[in-house]
Symmetry: C2
Subunit: 156 residues, 2 copies
Amino acid sequence: MRRLLIKKGQVVQIPGETQTKAYYVESGLLRSYVIDQKGREYIFMFAPEGWLIADSTPPELPGELFIDALEDSTLKVFEKGTEHNNDDRPKLIKRLGVLQKRVIQLMSASAIERYEHFIDTYPNITQRVPQRMIASYLGITPEALSKVKGEKARGK
Amino acid sequence: MRRLLIKKGQVVQIPGETQTKAYYVESGLLRSYVIDQKGREYIFMFAPEGWLIADSTPPELPGELFIDALEDSTLKVFEKGTEHNNDDRPKLIKRLGVLQKRVIQLMSASAIERYEHFIDTYPNITQRVPQRMIASYLGITPEALSKVKGEKARGK
DNA sequence: TGGCCGCATTAATCTAGATTAAGAATTTCA
DNA sequence: TGAAATTCTTAATCTAGATTAATGCGGCCA
């Protein structure tokens, strides 16, 4: 298990690799995302201090996520499938909880509702990343988020 | 750890409980889903033989999923947080993989694309549940799925 | 210091999928 | 078996959010 120091903007993982790693964020902020055929970017997850970030694609398949740093960060790198991962079992379960919520929101909530849930759940991150990345995480365009925020401000 | 025999239609878990359990499906088919304020139903996950199904809401919060049987089924019931769960670590990771894919699809793929991915990934389930439940899983209405299928049939 | 680039906002138009409404087919079960 | 309930399909209309386009605003660094 190595420790890694990375600069804002640095990419730590790209799609296509089969031996992907898991990163524990000691300080800073990372994100994972995909880019589709049309070049559109979709943020899958933010990982601030205390979070684990990884591509959970099954190990026999090539990974599909980019992972890069939104701030200077320090990481612990885990090779997957090694026994020591047992201590982060609670982190896996936490990730499942977040993803369950995320799927349900994407299916059942409007853009406004998803935005409000996001600022409740990640109030700190809101200050640390550009608006367009929050839009990307929510699955809407920056323009739509801008509109939504405007409507909310001037009395819903 | 108990074994449970349930009939088609039987509900094994409802939202609001804090001591939720995990169910390993030995035979049959279960689903988990939410119902929103307007009474709309969104299927979160199907679980055929060999799958683990559970509400992954953090343990300190009330659960948000219904779980019921779509076929007569036999289950093994796990209390969460007990040590024996260590052997299903691979199942947790598999669930993470499925959810990652699901989030990315919900954000970036059209209804048609999601439908095609679904029939690739769960060809058997397609035969075992009504169309409207597949629509619900995909996050679209039964009408939209019907249209999509029609278009696909008559030469895309 | 000034030019450039990424970011945010607003507005006009467009579209995938929702909603509503029937009708036909299929399942369920008394 | 037969009536009621559930499911599927088609079609007309509506709408949240996408797309496109134009403008303004910092911040960055040569």
